[in-house]
Amino acid sequence: MKPEPAQRPDAIPARLRTILPRALPWAVFALGLIVAPLIFSGGASLSILSQIGTMMLLGLSFNMLLGQGGMLSFGHAVYSGLGAYFAAHAIRLAGAGTISIPISLVPILGGLAGMLFGVLFGYVTTKKSGTTFAMITLGISELVSACALMMPEFFGGEGGVSFNRVVGRPLYGISFGPQIQVYYLIAVWLFICTLAIYAFSLTPLGRMINAVRDNPERAEFIGYDPQHVRYLTFILSSFFAGVAGALGAINFEIVSAENVSTGRSGAILLFTFIGGVDYFFGPLIGAALGVFFTELLSNYTPAWQLYLGIFFVLMVLYAPGGLSGLLVEAVRPKVLRRSILRWPLLLAICVSGLLVVFGAILAIEMLFQRSLGSDSELKLFGISVDTSLRMSYVVVGLLVFVSGISLRWAWVAFWDGADKPQTEIAGVTIRRTGT
C-alpha cells in the first residue's frame, strides 16, 4: 500500500530507516494506552477508558469486514456477545474450582468461542455479498437474540450471567480486582490484537479480501473462490470480536442478552462508520468518540440517541469517509494552505457551524423537554427557555436558518475555485445484485 521509501544516501542505516517510520505510530499507540489512565484517573473515567478499549477492538474486527472486505454486517455483536458468554461461564467455573484458567487468558477462550460461531454462521452469511449479506447478518442476529430468551440456562434470562472476576490467588499482586488492572489487561490485549489485525492486512489473504471487495468476479478468474476468501476473513474477524467480548465481560462482570442484541451490533456499525472505514485507525477514533459521547451525553440528555442518529446520517451524506477521512483530507498540504490563506472564511465556517449546532441542539432539547419533561422551562448552556411559548421556537428556528445560510455561503466561498475534497465511500460500494 505504501509507496517504496525513496532511495537516499543517508547516515542512518537502511534497515533502521525503513523500520523507524513504521514503528513510530505503534510506539505512540502503546504510549497512549499506558499513559491514558494516568491522565484520566477518576473512577468513572477508568471504566470509560476500559470500555473504549473493548470498543476499539470490536471496531477494528468489524472493519476487517466492512472496510477491508466490503461486508456490511448488522450482526457483529453476535460474535462478541457469544464470546462474552463463554468467557463468563468459564470464569464462573474457574471461580467454583471446576476448571483452572487465569483471567488474563480468558480472552483467548472468548475469541475461540466467537470464532466457533463465525465458522458456523459465517458459512451461511458469506455465501452472499452486498445487500443480501447485510440482511442475512441481521437475520442471524435476530435468531441468536431469540435464542437468548429461550435458553435461560446458558444466557441467564433477564438478569444475564454475572460473576466475580477475582479468581484464584493473585499473581505478583495482580488479582484483576481493581479497575486499573482490568484496564491494563484490556490495553495489552487491544495492543496485541491491533498488531495482529494490522498484520492480517499485509498477508496474501488480507490483500485478497481487498481484491474480492473491489471485484469478486475477477478474483474468481485469478484462482480465488470469493466466498472462501470472505468466509476465512469472517472467521478471523469473529475471533477478534470474541476477544473483545470477553474483555468487555471481564470489565463489567456481567453478560446479558443485550450483549448479542441487534442494538449492540448497530452501535458497533455506527461508531466504526463515524470513525471511518477507509483507514486502519478509523475505528479507533470512532470507538473513542462513540463510547465517550454515549457515556457523557446519556448523563445530560434523553435525546442522545437522536444526536447519534443525526450525526451518523450527516456523515453518510456529507463525509462518507468518516472522521478519519476528514482528518486525512484536512491535513493535505493543499487544504492547509487554503485554510491559512482564507482564514476569515474558515473562521466564518466555524462560527456559523457552531451556531447551527447550538440552535439545533436547543430545538431538540426544547422538544424533548415539552414532551417528556415535567415543566416547560429548559435550562441549557446557562440560558433558560420557556418551551411552552411559540415565540421560543420561532427564535430558535430563525437562528438555525440564518446561521445555516451563512455556513453554506462561507463554505462555498472557501472552496471557490478549487476541486472540492472528494472523499469516497468506495470501501463499501455494493454492486447491485444481478446486474
Binding site: M1, A199, T203, P204, R207, M208, A211, E217, I222, Y224
Partner: protein
C-alpha cells in the same frame, strides 16, 4: 492424435428459448495461437464465458488438456491452467497497479489463502509481479490506484492480470479494443512476447491483429464455427467469404 490444449465438442448454450451457441466445435493444439473471428452478435464472448465457467453450457463437452471442465467454477478452471482477460476492463479498481499484479500471481505461486505470511517478504511474488509490471510497461505507474489509470493503461493491466499467473492456456477477449494504431502495434508485440510457448485463444475484430498474431483462425457465425484453419485457408474458404468477409471486407473493424 496429440492431446489438444482446448477441445470443444458440440457446445451449445441456450438463454431461454434462444440458442446463442449452436454446436461449436474447435480444437486448439498446445502452443498454438488461435483467433476467433465473427460478426457482432455471433456469440464470441459467450463462447469465452462458457469455456471459462462464467456461464454453464447447456450441452456438449469442453476439454482442457484432455479432461472435462464442464460445470466447474471459474476458479477451478483457472487452477487447471486456463486464464482469461476481459473485453470490458475488469480490474481491482481501488488497489494499486502493483497490488493488482501481486494478487494475480498469488494463487499460481501456491500461497492460496495464507494469512500467516507477510506479502512483502515473499521473494517469488515480488519477482513475478515486477516481471509482469515490466512486460506490460506500467513500471512508472505501479503505485497508482488501478481505477485512475488511462483507458489504454487499464487494458494493459487487464492483460497483465490475465497472464500474471503464468497459465498454460490464455484467453483474451478483444485485447486491443479501443486502442489507437500505435497502441495496438505495441499490444500485439507484447501479446506475442508474453504468450511465447503458451496456448492462446483470442477474440479479435481487427483483422490486422488477427493475421499478425494467429496461426489458426476459427470463424464463428450465428453460434456455429463454420470454418477453422490457417489464415490462408480461411481467406480462401468460400463459406467464410460468403458469410463473413463478403459483407464485411471493406472495413476491418466494426463498432
Amino acid at each position: 492424435m496429440s492431446e489438444c490444449a482446448l477441445d470443444l465438442r458440440d457446445v451449445r448454450k441456450r438463454f431461454g428459448s434462444a440458442e446463442i451457441i449452436r454446436g461449436a466445435n474447435l480444437q486448439v493444439e498446445k502452443g498454438e495461437r488461435c483467433a476467433i473471428i465473427g460478426p457482432n452478435g455471433a456469440g464470441k464472448s459467450t463462447l469465452f464465458n462458457l469455456i471459462t465457467g462464467r456461464f454453464p453450457a447447456s450441452s456438449g463437452e469442453i476439454l482442457l488438456n484432455g479432461s472435462s471442465i464442464m460445470g466447474l467454477k471459474p476458479f477451478e478452471i483457472y487452477r487447471r491452467g486456463l486464464s482469461r482477460g476481459f473485453q470490458i476492463t475488469n480490474i481491482f479498481h481501488r488497489l494499486s497497479v502493483y497490488e493488482n499484479l501481486r494478487c494475480s500471481v498469488l494463487w499460481s505461486l501456491g500461497y492460496r489463502y495464507s494469512f500467516w505470511q507477510k506479502l512483502s517478504s515473499l521473494p517469488d511474488v515480488k519477482e513475478r509481479a515486477d516481471e509482469v509490471l515490466d512486460l506490460i510497461g506500467l513500471r512508472d505507474r505501479q503505485n497508482t490506484p488501478a481505477g485512475l489509470l488511462t483507458y489504454a493503461e487499464q487494458r494493459a493491466l487487464e492483460i497483465g492480470i490475465a497472464i500474471a499467473g503464468d497459465a498454460a492456456v490464455i484467453l483474451l477477449d478483444e485485447p486491443t479494443a479501443g486502442m489507437s494504431r500505435s497502441e495496438t502495434d505495441a499490444a500485439i508485440e507484447m501479446i506475442r512476447r508474453i504468450t511465447q510457448g503458451k496456448t492462446l485463444l483470442v477474440v479479435e475484430h481487427d483483422m490486422s491483429v488477427v493475421f499478425a498474431l494467429a496461426e489458426k483462425i476459427a470463424v464463428l457465425v450465428f453460434g456455429e464455427i463454420i470454418a477453422s484453419g490457417s489464415p490462408n485457408d480461411i481467406r480462401n474458404n468460400p463459406r467464410v467469404r460468403e458469410a463473413y468477409l463478403g459483407e464485411y471486407s471493406a472495413v476491418d473493424r466494426t463498432e
